[in-house]
Subunit: 309 residues, 2 copies
DNA sequence: ATAAGGATAAATATATTCTTTATCCTTGAA
DNA sequence: TTCAAGGATAAAGAATATATTTATCCTTAT
């Protein structure tokens, strides 16, 4: 009835011998060399003899372990097969389906930071990313009005809709009469955005803030904010969109809010996230969710501050 | 670069499936069923799906684990081979060489209690016990005057030498003149005892306490106290020996101290234990040493109380 | 000489892992 | 149906184990 203990020590031992150095073995386990050394040492203390001889450049097995080495590596090869079959990798993957504009303009830049801090986590957002899409439901859906569909929904942030323009075009408004200022400038329309969110488009904006011009619904139509934004940058015209999506550009000064924050309005619905409960059991997911909610809260506060000022 | 984590969970899983119940698997690992359940649950939460279906009488693998099962059992079979080759069993063995009388009369009864509390620990005392003797040094030596031989020596307890007799023989001394009381009674000599400890024998005792009789060095000679003690019990005569070795008998009243504790003297040397430093790294050894020293201290105190009263 | 790479020690902080206790559920017997 | 037995689980606190950090030592290249 010999007890099979010190499994992690055996794993450390096998890796250290295979890699030839504690440092390399530690890296493979994403821990520090000191920790790995302690693991091996724990087993050595337990057994009362040395398992590896620490040398000039790395480590080598002592004569006592050599007879066991083949079995040791075989065991861990088998276990690696097990992890493949049990789909351990899946654990570090996060699959997201999200509102395209939000994903491209709000999530993407923040996700880069997150991935830097969590290099083991692999993402697949709307089918593209570090790993190929998987069949079945995503771990997380982001969009508008998900509440109806079921259970737990997390509120992210509410957007603020207002016109934005390039510095060039904004400057051209100088000195023009306020209510007809936009006469003659092209309006860029984003179909999907308002259709999905139920929010205002140019016609509603003109009506709400007492502006006038002809051909309110004329102008180029874009499917996604990102495309419209590039057009705006190229001085193609004025765009009406959520501030959170262009916040970075505005803060950087590469896009302007020609009518200030006065002439805009809060979005009808906030962005919402729905996480699959079963996915949330995975710590990587729970961790991501905590981060996402915190980022959204920060955005909410940043927007409020901007709009109030 | 899939991480091989949750090794203990995998071990628990394999055992649970092989044994068919959490309880049995837990017993095999000497932990509670609750703990084993937690191990498996941790992996289930990590992966996000169930690994075993808990049923009426025990557990069975879910369809997800079945493909991995063969590899899982193979892995742990290999690891068990490794433990055999690395001699994990040795860890729970304690090899002792000790002064025979002390081992038989002081250690043996106490060891029974220790083994009850630590059933995993196997002993080999002076070559006999739960496991066969091993080549090489013992983990622990007990005897007199080990200090000279080297490094760390633990003092156990100092003995108190005095005459003991059966109730029968003690009673026969009633009314006899004190200094010649033993005239005519057989004296039992224990050769090895005094030779090893350098302590007093009958001749020295007679001289020291002013007793007289003829044929001081005559009488039966025994190699070990245990043998002499049986003779004493059979009313064969008077024995001079360490109180710690017969303390239980005296306390129980089956042996008496016919001259009280006045006419005796402390042993020249205390019993000492020397543990191999390398062995002490093994927790079972360290635990045993703590216990041994505590027991010896208790004996020391018990002897002092008895002698003082 | 003097870095550079690697291993280790000590101390602290953090996590995991276990036990305990009580409850729930299923099964088989009265 | 009711009850008791066997097994699994939940919750909480206690006990361990495990990791990071920082500084130091040692060997080998430059």
């Amino acid at each position: 009835m010999t007890q099979l203990t010190h499994l992690r020590s055996l794993q450390a031992l096998e890796l250290a011998i295979r890699k030839g150095s504690l440092k390399a073995a530690a890296a493979a386990l994403s821990i520090t060399p000191a920790a790995l050394g302690q693991r091996i040492k724990a087993l050595e203390d337990y057994l009362g003899y040395e398992l590896i001889s620490r040398g000039r450049s790395g480590v080598r097995p002592t004569s006592e372990v050599k007879p066991a080495l083949a079995h040791l590596t075989a065991a861990f090869r088998e276990l690696e097969t097990v992890t493949r079959l049990l789909d351990f990798q899946r654990v570090d993957e996060i699959h997201i389906t999200a509102h395209t504009d939000w994903a491209q303009l709000w999530l993407a830049p923040r996700l880069e930071v997150y991935k830097q801090a969590n290099p083991n986590t692999l993402f697949c957002v709307n089918g593209v990313g570090d790993v190929p899409a998987r069949i079945g439901d995503a771990d997380c859906d982001v969009g508008f009005g998900l509440s109806g569909k079921g259970d737990e929904v997390d509120m992210l942030h509410r957007d603020y809709l207002l016109p934005v323009a390039s510095t060039e075009n904004a400057a051209r408004l100088e000195g023009l009469p306020h209510d007809t200022a936009l006469e003659g400038f092209p309006l860029l329309h984003i179909d999907a955005y308002t259709a999905q969110s139920g929010d205002i488009g140019w016609p509603e904006w003109f009506q709400q803030f007492g502006h006038r011009r002809t051909g309110l619904s004329r102008g180029v139509r874009y499917q996604w904010v990102l495309q419209a934004m590039e057009a705006v940058r190229a001085d193609a015209g004025f765009m009406l969109c959520g501030l959170s999506l262009v916040h970075a550009e505005v803060a950087r000064g590469s896009l302007l809010m020609p009518f200030g924050t006065q002439e805009g309005c809060w979005a009808k619905h906030p962005f919402e996230a729905r996480f699959r409960p079963v996915s949330l059991k995975r710590s990587a997911l729970a961790h991501f969710r905590d981060w996402l909610l915190a980022e959204a809260r920060a955005t909410d506060e940043a927007l409020s501050r901007t709009v109030e000022s």
